[in-house]
Amino acid sequence: MLKIWSMVRFTSASGQKKKKVTAAQLRVQKDLSELSLGTTMRTEFPNPDDILNFTLTIEPDEGMYKDGCFHFSFAINQNFPHDPPKVKCLEKIYHPNIDLEGNVCLNILREDWKPVLNLNAVIVGLQFLFLEPNASDPLNKEAAEDLRANRDAFKRNVRKSMAGDSVRGESYQRVLK
């Protein structure tokens, strides 16, 4: 044991009682600095000191969800980036890949998550869900069948739901700007 200590050579000073910035915080800080939000997205931090919890707002400027305003909560734990962020849609919307509870079916949020992916990849993925809703990964089965059967009819239902009307007996939240 004494031998091992004689080998200790230090590259730098360290050692202190105060709390240190955690590896998860450091990584999120880096990811936030690389976020490209463009004109259709913005973030909100209920507590600016806590960068692990925030809301992302997406306002698509094209596609069938154009002019909607959608909020997603991001909850990141201390095991990030080993664990993916937990993302939920805060509105009840009519979308094949988002269920009525706000769960989102996006591969990189679950089965395809890798620690090398960053928050930007996640927000790009979310944005894409509004441009290209995907009938083959259904979380809202009715919406997926609707999209598969008749794209135009689906589009009309999307607009109805966004205005706060019911679709197939289910009422949706008004999300138009």
Binding site: S14, S33, N79, E101
Partner: protein, 432 residues
């Protein structure tokens, strides 16, 4: 054999161990002095074992039988009936009792003269002063998060004035027939965070499969766990150890399995899926624990070269999936490791500077030249260049004095888009 107060004073029991400890072997260093001093160091070395589960039981037993006499153990769990098949320090009558306590008493009863001090709780309950008392730490954990925590703690504890503040970390892990043993010398060799990519994230099934086309009993359980619970018991926090909660999930999963004609949903499978229990193989635990304890013994006594000597192999992977395969290699340190790659540098500052003045001074520092820095402490966001919402929220800090934002000796992390790595500084107030 003479006995005093029930303690065996003779070294008869350690006869075989003493053959290694009291004479040089083919691999001992030339200047190694066998005998008395080595034995007394081994007996007085204070070793911490984290985890008293499958690996922990093996590790505690092995350490005690290798001549260590001052062992501490931390575990937050209580004994479950399903542990009894391999966690051999526990008996039926121990179910419900804390693992650390029961394991400690069992080994103390069987190996006279060994003192085992249990702590039933979380590793995060303890501070630097607690970890500083040990000579080395051995982990037998199944949680990545706990390993990352202890690794960061040990790296942060290293103090250049005091070599003994460098605590070797020996980590064992198993998953079914596979496992690994590694030795980390904090700040000197590749740390757990450097090696994070050795652990694949938990395999997950696409959410839409769970929601629409479940094919396996596990899919029905995950569906109950992730979707049904949220829908029907919103606000209730799921407790994996609450039998009522598991029963609820089990019944939901069973009903769903019926609907899709899937068989195999049972209560214990539900428990396994929800708690992410990987089938534990008792012998894999024994192999990995044995390897960890041999390294601990060699580090403490220098009887033989050990895993983890700088610039040599520090990682042993074992696979019993397809016959037997082991591979020992050196996992390299990562320059940009967020834990050991950029240790905090001391930086003297004038606490009466505003944050803006401090940021300007960073741009002038030769080693940094940070032009667009983003800064934070553990508890607060000092200044963020982006995204816009954070920039706006933290902008008022630029006019505040440093003493209002940080305390003397506090660590800040600075990132800048121009640099791949982050910088850490420990701010020391120049004139107090």
């Amino acid at each position: 054999m003479s006995e005093m107060n029930g303690v065996t004073t003779s070294r008869q029991r350690w006869k075989y161990l003493d053959r290694v400890l009291s004479r040089p072997g083919p691999f001992t260093d030339e200047d190694w002095v066998p005998g008395e001093e080595v034995i007394s160091f081994l007996e007085s070395a204070k070793v911490l074992v984290i985890g008293a589960g499958g690996l922990g039981c093996e590790i505690l037993k092995n350490l005690a039988l290798s001549g260590f006499k001052d062992i501490h153990v931390i575990d937050m769990d209580t004994i479950d009936v399903s542990n009894l098949n391999r966690q051999f320090l526990f008996r039926q009558s121990d179910v419900g009792k804390p693992k650390a306590e029961v394991a400690a008493r069992f080994v103390e009863r069987r190996v006279k003269g060994v003192k085992i001090t249990p702590y039933c709780g979380r590793i995060q309950d303890k501070d630097e002063d607690y970890y500083m008392q040990f000579n080395m730490i051995i982990c037998g954990l199944d949680s990545i998060e706990a390993r990352r925590w202890i690794n960061a703690m040990l790296v942060g504890m290293v103090d250049m004035e005091n070599p003994e503040s460098m605590k070797p970390l020996i980590d064992g892990g198993t998953e079914g027939f596979k496992g690994q043993a590694r030795v980390i010398l904090p700040t000197m060799t590749s740390c757990f965070e450097c090696q994070l990519d050795m652990h694949a994230p938990r395999a997950a099934v696409p959410l839409c499969t769970l929601a629409t086309i479940p094919r396996q009993p596990q899919h029905c359980i995950e569906w109950a766990h992730i979707i049904a619970w949220e829908e029907e018991r919103k606000g209730d926090i799921l407790d994996n150890d609450d039998p009522e909660h598991i029963t609820w999930l089990y019944q939901k999963a069973l009903a769903r399995a019926k609907e899709f004609n899937i068989s195999g949903v049972t209560y214990s499978l539900t428990q396994g899926v929800v708690k992410n229990i990987i089938p534990a193989i008792a012998s894999t635990n024994a192999i990995i624990a044995a390897s960890c304890c041999n390294e601990a013994f060699k580090i403490a006594t220098n009887t033989n070269p050990y895993l983890g000597v700088p610039e040599t192999a520090n990682y042993m992977m074992y696979s019993g999936d397809d016959s037997i395969y082991t591979y020992t290699f050196e996992h390299q340190r990562k320059e940009d490791c967020p834990v050991c790659g950029n240790l905090a540098k001391d930086l003297e500052i004038n606490a009466r500077w505003t944050l803006q003045e401090f940021i300007d001074s960073l741009a002038e520092r030769a080693e940094a030249q940070l032009k667009k820095p983003t800064l934070r402490t553990e508890k607060s966001s000092l200044y963020y260049q982006s995204p816009p919402a954070l920039e706006e929220a933290t902008r008022p800090n630029l006019r505040k004095k440093l003493f209002d934002l940080v305390s003397d000796g506090e660590e800040i992390a600075v990132s800048d888009p121009a640099f791949q790595i982050d910088f850490k500084f420990r701010l020391l107030f120049r004139d107090k």
